[in-house]
């Protein structure tokens, strides 16, 4: 059974419609203008028809929809647990994805195993989709490592903290795919703040010039720490692509189905040799930038409340309920699974050992380095001097 449009009436204006780039007025070109975006599910949970994008979700079954819902719920639960663990002193920092679940799960579930992902440091939902164990994401936030998974294990690169750097790595990787004659694709995640970085502009240039199979997935969550998107751009971000010579589209980032459809479209373009695409997922960072941040200093509660009405999980639940694609048993079972995940993550973090002191000197070089060897030996002798002193007592 496939998912049919159940919207009997026209979507309300605020619910938006499909992208109609090129027909905009100047006022609508403001970065914070009420966006016209690709939307398949309204905040009320109504399915909206899209002549352009319905075909990319035509095979999505109710089971798939329940899967997307489960992904979002578990990701949110994991995220909440990580925030709590930071408050309890178990993590040094946490960058919450609260509010961005649909953008991440929708795009993440559009990928094939042989595609490659270049995340920022907030793509916990995408990591989930790639099969990276959530507890492995927490090592760097606990301070036991700077990246606790094998990037090639799940084709999910390490988190990148320097803003925008990974978009160039993604482009280079995609250039390599072309050289190899493969038909896989790369997706590069970044945010509205990163869109100002030179590396992002250079990655647009390189990917366009070499027609690299890369999808630039920008989660515009409206805030780069304290700076609103107007401090980064005068035009809607997806329009940036036009100047580089490839298409850009704005999608409702809180609509998991639309994010799935649009990302599939962009990946298909990449695979078929049509080059890069920019997807701007219009969403909202419902929480703080990180646990060190205080959003009350720079934004009003009303703004968050308005976005809560567009919550990505809530709207899919409404749709699942209205269309009888999920029953109470499903939601109850998911609740149990969710709590179990929280418990597992909590226990794993608390049991996470501190690294061995000598880890400082490990993997600095692949082929070794005389100075590192010398300093490791000095460190060992220094450490041993305490043991000697204690032994001598």
């Amino acid at each position: 059974m496939t998912v049919e449009s159940t919207a009997a009436r026209k979507p309300r204006r605020s619910a938006g419609a499909k992208s109609t780039a090129g027909k905009r007025t100047t006022a609508k070109n403001a970065p914070n203008a009420e966006p016209e975006l690709v939307q398949l599910l309204t905040p009320e949970g109504e399915r909206v028809k899209s002549t352009e994008y319905d075909k990319y979700v035509v095979g999505v079954t109710p089971e798939d929809l329940r899967g997307l819902y489960r992904d979002m719920v578990l990701t949110r639960r994991f995220d909440a647990e990580a925030t709590a663990l930071q408050r309890q002193g178990e993590l040094g920092l946490w960058a919450s994805l609260l509010g961005q679940e649909a953008a991440q799960i929708g795009s993440g579930r559009a990928l094939r195993d042989d595609d490659y992902v270049f995340p920022t440091y907030r793509e916990h939902g995408v990591a989930w989709c790639r099969g990276v164990d959530p507890t492995n994401l927490l090592g760097m936030f606990r301070g036991v490592n700077n990246g606790g998974w094998d990037p090639n294990g799940n084709n999910f690169h390490l988190y990148t903290i320097v803003i925008g750097s990974q978009t160039l790595h993604a482009t280079g990787y995609a250039m390599g795919i072309t050289k190899d004659g493969a038909d896989s694709a790369v997706i590069a995640y970044f945010g509205d703040g990163a869109s100002s970085q030179g590396d992002v502009a250079e990655s647009f240039t390189f990917s366009a010039v070499y027609n690299a199979p890369v999808v630039f997935f920008c989660q515009n969550n409206q805030w780069a720490i304290s700076e609103p998107t107007e401090k980064q751009t005068r035009v809607p971000l997806y329009q940036r692509a036009q100047g580089f010579g490839f298409p850009g589209v704005r999608v409702d980032g809180n609509d998991v189905l639309a994010c799935l459809a649009v990302t599939r479209w962009a990946l298909e373009r990449a695979r078929s040799g049509e080059g890069p695409t920019l997807v701007e997922a219009y969403t909202y960072r419902m929480g703080a930038h990180t646990t060190s941040d205080d959003p009350t200093k720079y934004r009003a509660d009303e703004e968050r409340e308005a976005w809560e009405a567009k919550d990505p999980i809530l709207r899919l639940r409404r749709y699942l309920e209205v269309s009888n694609h999920a029953d109470e048993g499903f939601f109850a079972e998911l609740e149990t699974e969710s709590e179990a995940l929280g418990k597992r993550v909590r226990e794993a973090v608390r049991a996470m050992p501190d690294p061995d002191h000598f880890a400082i000197f490990e993997n600095v070089y692949a082929d070794g380095h005389a100075l590192v060897d010398e300093e490791r030996a000095q460190f060992a002798a220094y450490q041993a001097s305490f043991a000697d002193a204690e032994g001598g007592k």
Partner: protein, 326 residues
């Protein structure tokens, strides 16, 4: 190609050619490296023979060059990227320092970064601003990077082979004023280790330690000093990170005096690190403090002043005299 006399630039060209021939994963990337063969013609003819897919003319964006090279390395390639001139590396400095240098460590050894960054460096060619600098210390200070600089054609050939084979990122500083100096290259030789210094000339009174473009100058200094009856030993350090302190120590234990020569500014230059460590290692052998000759703490000057700024024969001889006077 058996033993053959060739210019240093040609030696690098031949080395790149050999790498392209022997390893299909090797790529050449940079501005103007294709049809033009690079502004110094180091990559001359390579695109013609290996195609645009392997010898890649890139957009004019240094961060993009290094950043995409990192991505290509993640995909299994071994990119050799050219930064056109020393002073233009800084847009790529972020990618080199925060990404390239740290990727192996932060992946807990899962990811290797076999990327060579070629940088023609140094002065003495009468160039305009930003074309004559020696920023090697800025890279040697960064763990995760290896930094080397050949002084002659044979080393240029072999050190490039070894840099490309290295699974670590290597910053390869090419002494641009020596590009046209000819030397014997034996492509069938068995090269020594990449990061070992070489005694260019033995002596008994004082050691001159240098690398890249300053090795030739030190040979001229040693010739001039010999006329005055002074016997100078010359060490070609070849590698700046790691530095072969064992070789410097062994030499200084014989000569008891050390002068380090580089074009880079003396302040926080590689000579400072050498002086500190050799003082630690050879405190009771030294008859004089370790002296340094190099650039001043001033912007690289306009070309008509560069002879005053760069270490020259007389300035190095002056330092030699001062060291011998202790």
């Amino acid at each position: 190609m058996a033993a053959e006399k060739m210019a240093l630039a040609k030696a690098i060209n031949e080395s790149l050619r050999r790498a392209l021939e022997t390893d299909p994963k090797v790529l050449i990337m940079g501005e103007d490296v294709g049809k033009l063969g690079g502004v110094f013609r180091v990559t001359d003819g390579l695109q013609k023979d290996f195609g645009e897919s392997r010898v890649i003319d890139t957009p004019l964006a240094e961060s993009g060059i290094v950043g995409t090279a990192i991505g290509l390395a993640l995909r299994g390639y071994r990119p050799v990227v050219e930064i056109q001139f020393d002073g233009f590396v800084f847009p790529a400095y972020d990618q080199i320092v925060t990404q390239l240098a740290k990727m192996h460590a932060r992946s807990l050894g899962k990811v290797k970064m076999p990327v060579v960054v070629r940088i023609p460096y140094g002065g003495g060619i009468g160039a305009v601003e930003h074309h004559s600098e020696s920023p090697e210390s800025l890279f040697a200070h960064v763990s995760g990077l290896k930094v080397v600089s050949p002084s002659n054609a044979s080393d240029a050939y072999w050190m490039m082979q070894q840099a490309i084979q290295s699974d670590d990122p290597v910053i390869f500083f090419e002494p641009k004023r020596r590009y046209w100096d000819k030397g014997e290259v034996n492509a069938e030789a068995i090269p020594g280790p990449l990061h070992k210094a070489r005694v260019v000339r033995t002596g008994t009174d004082l050691t001159l330690a240098a690398y890249g473009p300053m090795v030739k100058l030190c040979q001229e200094v040693a010739d001039a000093a010999a006329e005055e009856g002074k016997s100078l030993e010359i060490l070609d350090l070849r590698s700046i990170s790691p530095l072969d302190f064992d070789a410097i120590q062994a030499s200084v234990e014989r000569t008891r005096r050390l002068v380090v020569v580089h074009e880079a500014p003396v302040f926080f230059g590689s000579g400072a690190e050498i002086a500190a460590r050799i003082t630690e290692r050879c405190f009771y052998h030294l008859e004089a403090p370790v002296l340094r000759v190099g650039g001043y703490h001033a912007p690289y000057p306009p070309a008509r002043l560069e002879d005053e700024y760069l270490p020259g024969l007389d300035r190095v001889l002056d330092a030699v005299d001062r060291a011998l006077a202790y």
